[in-house]
C-alpha cells in the first residue's frame, strides 16, 4: 500500500492504495466518485476521462500513485448542486444522452477542449471527440451540443480577460 495525496474537485484527499490501482478505480471505489465510468480499461473508449492539472486524461491509463499533488476534476466537479451547467444543459437540449454511460467522458473531454479553445471549429470538436466512444447516439447530437455550448465558454473567456 502507498499513500497519495491530491486535490479532487477542490477537496484535498489522502488515500492509501495499492501501487497497481488505476486512478479510475481509486476515484470510483476508494473515493466513491462513481460518475467517472470505466468502459474498456485500455484507453480506447474515453468513458473514464477526467481532468488532471487542466488536461483531459484517461483515468484507466494512469495509476493513482502518480497523482501526488495533482489537481483532478471529475464530472461531479463540473456539476452544480441545482441547475445544469451550460454544457450539461446543451447536452440535455440536444438529446445527447441515451444510456448515459459514456456521457461523463464526453462532458470532460468537451469541457477541457472548450476551456482551452472556446472558439473550436466543428471539425476540431469532431476530431477531439473522436477519441470517445458512444454506442447509442451516433454522435451527431453530441457535436451539436458542444457547438451550442461554445458561447458560454466564449463569454467566460471574455470576462476572464477583462
Amino acid at each position: 500500500m502507498m499513500n497519495v495525496a491530491f486535490d479532487v474537485n477542490g477537496r484535498q484527499v489522502d488515500v492509501q492504495v495499492e501501487p497497481r490501482i488505476t486512478l479510475a478505480d481509486c476515484l470510483r471505489h476508494d473515493l466513491r466518485l462513481t460518475g467517472t465510468h470505466v468502459g474498456c480499461e485500455h484507453g480506447v473508449c474515453g468513458a473514464c476521462t477526467v481532468m488532471v492539472d487542466g488536461a483531459a486524461v484517461r483515468s484507466c491509463l494512469i495509476l493513482a500513485v502518480q497523482m501526488q499533488d495533482a489537481k483532478i476534476i471529475t464530472v461531479e466537479g463540473i456539476s452544480g448542486d441545482d441547475a445544469l451547467t451550460p454544457l450539461q444543459a446543451a447536452f440535455r437540449k440536444h438529446f445527447t444522452v441515451q444510456c448515459g454511460f459514456c456521457t461523463p467522458g464526453f462532458l470532460m473531454t468537451a469541457h477541457a477542449l472548450l476551456t482551452d479553445e472556446p472558439d473550436a471549429s466543428e471539425e476540431r470538436i469532431r476530431d477531439v471527440l473522436s477519441g470517445n466512444l458512444c454506442r447509442c447516439t451516433g454522435y451527431i447530437p453530441i457535436i451539436q451540443a458542444v457547438l451550442d455550448a461554445r458561447a458560454a465558454y466564449q463569454n467566460q473567456a471574455r470576462s476572464a480577460a477583462t
Binding site: T34, F95, V97, C102, G138
Partner: protein, 757 residues
C-alpha cells in the same frame, strides 16, 4: 372530457438526464455493499476439448481468496440455460450449462469462479488454478461444422441443431411452372459477418444472500428481470418469491444485455456459497468474448420473377453459425430471417429453410434488428443484382414489388416449428419510398452513378424495410396516488438506455391529466409488480405504455367511484383534473382525501399482434479507388412509426441505429483464426464508429399510419434504423463500382479487391 395535457407527441426533455449528466446515475458497478467480495472467472482458452485436470489448491491458498467454485461445488446435474421464448424440445441438448463440466466448447466458457477480498486478488488467483484440457478438433466455420466430422454434442450426433421453415404459397410449384423465356431465375450466395452489440457498459452483477430470510437479491438485472428470475429460481432451487432482481441504470441493451448468461447463475450462487455479497464486473475482453455474438449467416437464395421485374417466388437455404450453445434467445435471428425475408414486398411464394449450426465459437443471441438486418442485406442485394441483369431501374423494381396500401394487412410466411403466423399491420410503403427519394434528391444524385470524380467513384443505393415490434404477450402496470398528490407508476418495461422513464411519464401524465412533475416512474425490478415482461423486440413503449393507459383508466374509475359517493352524484358525471374530482354542481374533493383502496389501480395490456414500422433509406457514397475507403456522402432515412410519443427520443433511436448499422456494414467484425481463437478481443481491434466517421445522416420520421393493434397507435421503433443499412450501402457501392458485393463487412480491403480483381 377534453385533454388538458398533450405531452405525447412533444419533444419533452428527458428526465433521466438530470442524474446522468451530473454523474449521479446508478450503474451496477457504482454500488458498494458492506462486506462485499469480488469475483473473477476462469475461462477456457481452448475452443473444443475435455477438461482433464482442474486443481484449485494453489488459488485457494492465496491470501485474500475466500472461495474457488467449480462444477463440483454446483452439484449434479449442472443447471442449463433454457430458451426464453418459443421453447423447442429438440434444442434442449444444446443448452449451455452454467459452468463447464467435462467438455469445453468455446474460448471464454466459464470453468471456475474465484471469490476474493478484491477484484485484483481474484484475478491473481486465476493464474494459480491448474487446468489441463485435452483438445478436440474445433469447428470454427459453418462449412466445417455441417460435415459432422467433429461433434460438439456427441449425444445428438449432429451439429445441425434445428431447421426452421418459412412457407407462403407454393414456391416449388412456381419454380416448376416457370419454363418459358418470360421468366427469369437468379441464384446467389451471400453472407453477413459475426459482430455484436458491444454496449459501452460491460455486464456486471452483485449477488446478496440473506441467510436468515433465505432471500437472494441480485443487482445488475436488465431487459427481462422476471424471466431471468424464473430461470434462476429453477436452477438454484429457490421459490421465485425468495429472489429479487434489481435493475439500476443500464449502459445500453440492443438485445444483448439482460439475457440470462452463465454469470447470472454463478454470481448469485457464489454469494450464497460464501454468505457475503459478491460483485462481478466484466472486463472488455470478457465482454467481446462471452456476450452473445450475432449476425453470422450465409445463404443461397433463388429468386424467380417475370422479365418485367414482377417477383413470383423466392426459395433458399440459410445457415446460421450459432456458436457453441443455443442460448436464451438464439433462435430469434434465424426465425426472423426466414419469416421476414420478404420485408415490405409482395412475394407470393416463399420457401426458406433456416438452419442453426453449432460451432466452437461464442454462442449467439439477438442484436438490434435480429435476422432482419441480415435478411435485408440478402434481399436488397438480390434485388439490385436482378434489376441490373434485367436492365430495370432499382427504384422501378422496388415500386413494382412493394405491397400497396390496399394489400395491407398482408400475411407473412408461416414459420415452423413452433408455429408463427404474422401480418404486416398498416402503412403505405410507396409513400415512404417516394418521400425518401424526394428528400434524398434521387433524380439528380442517380446521375452520379459510376462517375469518377477526383479519384473517387460515386454511387447511390436504396432499400425498403419493415420492423417488427411490440412483441407480446402482455405487460403490466400499477399506480398509487401518494399522500402529496403525486402518482407512482410501476411498469414491467425496463430501461436499457432508450429514455423509457420520460416516455412512460409522458404517457401517464396525459392519461391522468396531471403535470409530468407529479408522476414518478418505477421500473425494471421484480419488487414492483407480480409479473413483467421487459424490453425486447421493440416492445417497451407500446406494451408498457398501453399497460399504463389501462392502469390510468382503472385508477380514474376507482377515483370517480369514491368521489361519487362523497359528492352524491353519479360516477360518470365526476370530472377529474389536476388531482381534483369535481361533481356537476361544483363540489370538489381532492384525490388524496379519498379512501386509500380507491387510490390505486392495476392495468394489463395483452396483445400478440406485432406492429410493423416501415420506411426507406437511401445513400450516396464515394469510393476511393486507390484505398477502398468509402465515404458516406449523404444518408437519408424516412420511417413511419404509427404514432410518435417523443420526436427527439425517436429521432435519437433512428440516428443511433443507423450509425450502428454503418458500423455493421464497414467496421465491426468478430474475427476468429482457424483454430477458434478470437482475434478481436479489444476495442482497438474490434472497431466501433467514432465521431468523425459518419456525420452526414438525415432522418425524417412520420406518423401517417397508426397501428390498429394498440390504444396508442404506436409501433416499435427502436430497431428500424439499423435494419436496411447493410443492403442500402452495399447497393450504393455496387452502383459506384459496377460490381456486386455479396459479403459484409465492406472493409477497405474488401472494397479494394472488388475494384481490382
Amino acid at each position: 372530457m377534453t385533454a388538458l395535457n398533450s405531452y405525447v407527441g412533444q419533444a419533452v426533455e428527458r428526465i433521466e438526464d438530470l442524474r446522468l449528466l451530473r454523474g449521479r446515475g446508478q450503474f451496477v458497478d457504482d454500488l458498494h455493499l458492506d462486506g462485499m467480495l469480488h469475483a473473477a472467472i476462469l475461462r477456457s482458452a481452448i475452443p473444443h476439448g475435455r477438461i482433464l485436470v482442474l486443481d484449485t489448491t494453489a488459488a485457494l491458498a492465496l491470501p485474500g481468496v475466500v472461495a474457488v467454485i467449480t462444477a463440483a461445488d454446483v452439484g449434479s446435474p449442472i443447471p442449463t440455460i433454457p430458451l426464453r421464448l418459443a421453447p423447442q424440445i429438440d434444442l434442449v441438448p444444446y443448452e449451455q450449462p452454467v459452468i463447464a463440466t467435462g467438455k469445453v466448447r468455446y474460448v471464454g466458457e466459464p470453468i471456475a469462479v474465484v471469490v476474493a477480498e478484491s477484484a485484483a486478488i481474484a484475478e491473481d488467483a486465476l493464474d494459480l488454478i491448474v487446468v489441463e484440457i485435452g483438445s478436440l478438433p474445433p469447428c470454427v466455420d459453418t462449412g466445417t461444422a455441417i460435415t459432422n466430422q467433429s461433434l460438439l454434442f456427441e449425444e445428438t450426433g449432429t451439429n445441425l441443431a434445428l431447421t426452421y421453415t418459412a412457407v407462403l404459397g407454393d414456391a416449388a410449384g412456381a419454380f416448376a411452372a416457370a419454363t418459358t423465356d418470360e421468366f427469369y431465375v437468379r441464384c446467389e450466395r451471400l453472407d453477413t459477418q459475426r459482430h455484436t452489440a458491444t454496449t459501452m457498459e460491460t455486464r456486471g452483477l452483485i449477488g446478496q444472500w440473506d441467510s436468515k430470510k433465505q432471500h437472494l437479491t441480485v443487482y445488475g438485472a436488465a431487459k427481462v428481470p422476471f424471466a431471468s428470475r424464473a430461470m434462476l429460481a429453477r436452477q438454484i432451487g429457490l421459490p421465485e418469491s425468495s429472489i429479487d432482481l434489481i435493475a439500476g441504470d443500464v449502459g445500453g441493451g440492443f438485445g444483448m444485455r439482460g439475457e440470462f448468461y452463465p454469470e447470472d447463475f454463478l454470481i448469485p450462487f457464489a454469494a450464497r456459497h460464501v454468505n457475503r455479497p459478491v460483485k462481478w464486473i466484466e472486463d472488455r475482453r470478457e465482454h467481446l468474448l462471452t456476450c452473445n455474438h450475432a449476425r453470422e449467416f450465409d445463404c443461397e437464395i433463388e429468386l424467380l420473377c417475370r422479365r418485367d421485374g414482377t417477383i413470383l417466388a423466392v426459395r433458399g437455404n440459410v445457415n446460421g453459425n450459432i456458436g457453441a450453445y443455443i442460448r436464451s434467445n438464439a433462435t430469434i435471428a434465424p426465425r426472423n430471417l426466414a419469416q421476414c425475408f420478404s420485408g415490405p414486398y409482395r412475394i407470393p411464394n416463399i420457401n426458406i429453410e433456416s438452419t442453426m449450426v453449432v460451432t466452437n465459437k461464442t454462442p449467439t443471441g439477438t442484436y438490434r434488428g435480429p435476422g432482419r438486418f441480415e435478411a435485408d442485406f440478402f434481399r436488397e442485394r438480390m434485388f439490385d443484382i436482378v434489376a441490373d441483369d434485367l436492365g430495370i431501374d432499382p427504384v422501378a423494381f422496388r415500386r413494382r414489388n412493394l405491397l400497396t396500401k390496399d394489400e395491407i394487412p398482408a400475411k407473412l410466411a408461416t414459420l415452423t416449428p413452433v408455429l408463427s403466423e404474422d401480418h404486416l399491420d398498416s402503412g403505405d410503403y410507396l409513400e415512404t419510398l417516394d418521400r425518401c427519394l424526394g428528400e434524398f434528391g434521387w433524380a439528380e444524385k442517380t446521375k452520379l452513378k459510376g462517375r469518377l470524380i477526383g479519384g473517387r467513384y460515386h454511387g447511390v443505393g436504396v432499400g425498403c424495410f419493415v420492423e417488427g415490434g411490440a412483441v407480446g404477450p402482455r405487460e403490466n402496470a400499477r399506480m398509487v396516488v401518494e399522500g402529496d398528490g403525486s402518482v407512482s407508476v410501476y411498469v414491467g418495461s425496463t430501461m436499457v438506455g432508450q429514455g423509457l422513464e420520460t416516455i412512460c411519464v409522458q404517457i401517464a401524465a396525459d392519461a391522468l391529466e396531471l403535470p409530468m412533475e407529479q408522476i414518478r416512474i418505477f421500473h425494471g425490478s421484480t419488487t414492483y409488480l407480480h409479473e413483467g415482461f421487459g424490453s425486447f423486440g421493440s416492445r417497451s413503449t407500446v406494451m408498457g405504455g398501453s399497460a399504463i393507459i389501462a392502469a390510468a383508466e382503472n385508477l380514474k374509475h376507482n377515483i370517480r367511484t369514491a368521489a361519487a359517493l362523497r359528492l352524491n352524484c353519479a360516477a360518470e358525471d365526476i370530472i377529474l383534473e389536476a388531482g381534483l374530482a369535481t361533481s356537476p354542481d361544483g363540489n370538489v374533493v381532492r384525490w388524496t382525501e379519498l379512501p386509500p383502496e380507491n387510490l390505486q389501480s392495476a392495468g394489463t395490456y395483452s396483445s400478440n399482434q406485432r406492429t410493423y414500422a416501415y420506411g426507406t433509406h437511401a445513400a450516396h457514397v464515394a469510393v476511393d479507388a486507390k484505398t477502398g475507403h468509402v465515404e458516406v456522402v449523404d444518408y437519408v432515412a424516412v420511417g413511419d412509426v404509427g404514432r410518435v410519443i417523443n420526436p427527439k427520443t425517436l429521432h435519437g433511436q433512428v440516428v443511433g441505429a443507423i450509425v450502428q448499422g454503418l458500423g455493421s456494414t464497414f467496421l465491426e467484425h468478430l474475427v476468429y483464426d482457424t483454430e477458434g481463437q478470437l482475434l478481436t478481443g479489444s476495442l482497438a481491434d474490434y472497431l466501433l464508429p467514432t465521431a468523425t466517421d459518419y456525420p452526414n445522416i438525415r432522418v425524417y420520421d412520420q406518423e401517417n399510419y397508426p397501428s390498429p393493434n394498440n390504444p396508442l397507435g404506436a409501433k416499435g421503433a427502436g430497431e428500424g434504423g439499423l435494419i436496411p443499412v447493410g443492403g442500402v450501402i452495399a447497393n450504393a457501392i455496387a452502383s459506384a463500382l459496377g460490381v456486386q458485393p455479396k459479403s459484409l463487412p465492406m472493409s477497405p480491403s474488401r472494397v479494394w479487391e472488388l475494384i481490382n480483381f
